[in-house]
């Protein structure tokens, strides 16, 4: 017979140490902290995790291969020389280090574009949630309508407009449209309505605080989880933006990473072109690192932001 029934330790993640006595008689009480385990759900979660992680694993594994090895080895395991460091240094230096330039461009678009979009969304959302004015319903309808229009559909008209203004082929062509995030605004609006008690604002006003000071010193700290949520959201959107820069920017010096990687990938489909699949893969890996880092660092806020919405409904 295999393991006797009592020796299996309860799989609690909360406590590492347990008295032997309690191990003999594991408490079967189920609380919110220790919900009943479901095999089906665990398997489902496992499959989903696998589904999400497999491409990532593929990316990491293949970033360690040379161009030649990439083509003649099995995709999901290491093979040949470990070329990761070499690939990284090649990626960073290929074509006079254009990858670094693309990286900085993306950073610029994200900091100014996503940062600006978040700032505007917070201001607008707070204002709409906490102030009454005529035409609020019209604003609401416009914002909801704007959420439904995909950015892709606006890209070409925006291009024609920008090209009349002489803005195409400049960073502004990517930054200005990125500043507008109807979804972020809506999210902040809903969040501000719930998270900032009107009584608190009134108290601040009674105490003689100006509106601006009330916003920055009273409301803003309460809004932090929402801000981080919107920030992450717009960051991911801007970081991965492809179609807009594709239409707007023709000068490789202003490419974001998405366009740059695509240009490298396209080298393989040119007569006389130089396929650099290994650099495309390594570049893609380097591209996702900052996003992964941002998620890990801001995870706490992100989670509490989501939860805040869910509890209050």
């Amino acid at each position: 017979m295999s393991a006797p029934p009592f020796t299996a330790p309860p799989r609690s993640r909360r406590t590492n140490h347990r008295a032997p006595a309690s191990r003999r008689a594991p408490r079967r009480r189920r609380t919110a902290d220790r919900p009943r385990r479901s095999v089906v759900l665990t398997v489902l979660m496992g499959l989903t995790a696998l589904y999400a992680l497999l491409p990532l694993a593929w990316l990491v594994i293949n970033a360690t291969k040379t161009q030649k090895n990439l083509l003649d080895s099995f995709g999901l395991w290491f093979s040949g020389d470990f070329a990761l460091w070499d690939n990284i240094s090649q990626t960073l230096t290929y074509d006079d280090g254009i990858f670094v330039r693309w990286f900085l461009n993306t950073l610029l678009y994200v900091v100014v574009g996503a940062g600006g979009a978040t700032f505007l969304a917070v201001l607008g959302g707070y204002g709409l949630a906490k102030f009454d004015f005529t035409g609020k319903r019209a604003v609401f309808a416009t914002v909801i309508g704007a959420v439904a229009v995909p950015a892709t559909a606006l890209a070409v008209p925006t291009f024609l407009m920008f090209s009349k203004m002489g803005l195409t082929n400049t960073p502004w062509a990517v930054i200005i449209p990125s500043l507008i995030s109807p979804f972020g605004l809506y999210l902040m609006w809903v969040f501000a309505a719930e998270a900032v008690p009107t009584e608190l604002l009134e108290a601040a006003r009674v105490d003689g605080s100006g509106e601006l000071r009330t916003f920055f010193q009273v409301a803003l700290p309460l809004l932090t989880p929402g801000i981080v949520t919107v920030l992450l959201f717009t960051m991911v959107q801007t970081w991965n933006n492809y179609f807009l820069p594709l239409i707007m920017i023709k000068d490789p010096d202003w490419y974001p990473l998405t366009l740059g990687l695509n240009a490298w990938n396209q080298q393989a489909s040119t007569a006389g072109g130089q396929p650099v699949f290994n650099l495309v893969i390594t570049g893609a890996l380097l591209t996702i690192v900052p996003l992964v880092a941002a998620f890990l660092l801001l995870q706490r806020y992100w989670q509490s932001g989501l939860a805040a919405g869910s509890v209050k409904g």
Binding site: L71, D72, S163, D251, T270, A271, G272
Partner: protein, 446 residues
Amino acid sequence: MRTMTRRAMRGVGLLCAAALSLTACGSSDDSGSDKAVSGGDLRAALREGGSITVWAWEPTLKQVVTDFQKEYPKVKVKLVNAGTGNDQYTALQNAVQAGSGVPDVAQVEYYALGQFALGKSLEDLSRYGADKFKDAYSPGPWNAVTVDDAVYALPMDSGPMALFYNKKVLDKHQIATPTTWDEYLEAARALHAADPKAYIANDTGDAGFTTSMIWQAGGTPFKTRDTNVTVDLTNDKGVVAFTKVWQKLIDEKLLAPISSWSDEWYKGLADGTIATLATGAWMPANFVSGVEGASGDWRAAALPQWKKGEEVSSENGGSSLAVMKASKNKDLAYAFNEYANHSEGVQARLEGGAFPATTADLSSPTFLEQTFPYFGGQKANEIFARSATQVPEEWSYLPYQVYANSVFNDSVGKAYVSDTKLIDGLKAWQKAAVDYGTEQGFDVNK
């Protein structure tokens, strides 16, 4: 994910189509001065200097730009890779339509030239004396850049076709190199029977390849005279010859379902899954850089024939440099174009691995004698150069071939994945081409 990207690409294609229709009706015609420009004027312009922008994806141009700027220090050339093929055409059409951001010089593939020339986006280079260059270029490329007396671009490279074959794979199964397309079909059967993982070729429906095959078989499915366009993809003799053999290859599942230029394709060329490749003579550079692992396995041979004993070839791919009508510095733009494609620049590009369109280079002993270590020391240029002289001259593309090619997969592509017959797919393609042409104001099949 793959289908997603393909769908996205198709979206871009459609967008391109939309952009095209807009420019076709709304292009502004500021032809400016049409006076002849002499060599002396050009030299003066070069001395005076200025800056031009060149949109091109051809990798060997980088060296040409460096050399050019060294020779003419006052000229600044900005080389921009605005996308490869269709991506760049979309961008170019958008820029022309918007009236800003148009480059001075643009790389345009032969099949796409008609579209831009007809849209009056390109400068006629005959006023610079380019009409005297007829004998300098091989016939296929030269026909492609000229319409009547006008010269709309200078040929940059060419793609006389050859059959590349994996000698190791064919030898292993004792299959002789096919010299006719019927033998090719036999070889395909023998190979796939001997090794179910190996295919004679990959094909998922490729407009460029299909039209090249029809071209070789003596077909002339597209004819244009002023605004009269004829599209015949049903009774044309080239189409009939091609579909007869290719339908069998498809029916018997003898073609690998791998799209050209994909990573699987490179993998297939390297590991023997794809045993032969009929394509343009620019391919060796791609073999060396992209299929490193199979060095020594591959050889080149003459393109298989539709009739035994004939010596007819075709062109596949190849591109030219055109001077944009919207350029503010056409003299410099032309001077660079001539430098890159007619004088000093050609040599630098050949050394970079490009395949020439210039007859002087195609017949020079150093070029012909060159051995290719990748092809086991074979003097492959002899085969390519001979092929360049065997291309039927009657061929022409549609004046809106970019659009037509972008919808090829919607019609003909079906024949590769369903019960649709190739000829029916081509019929559907014809219909799409006729409809679009009519919409654009052409008299199609009237």
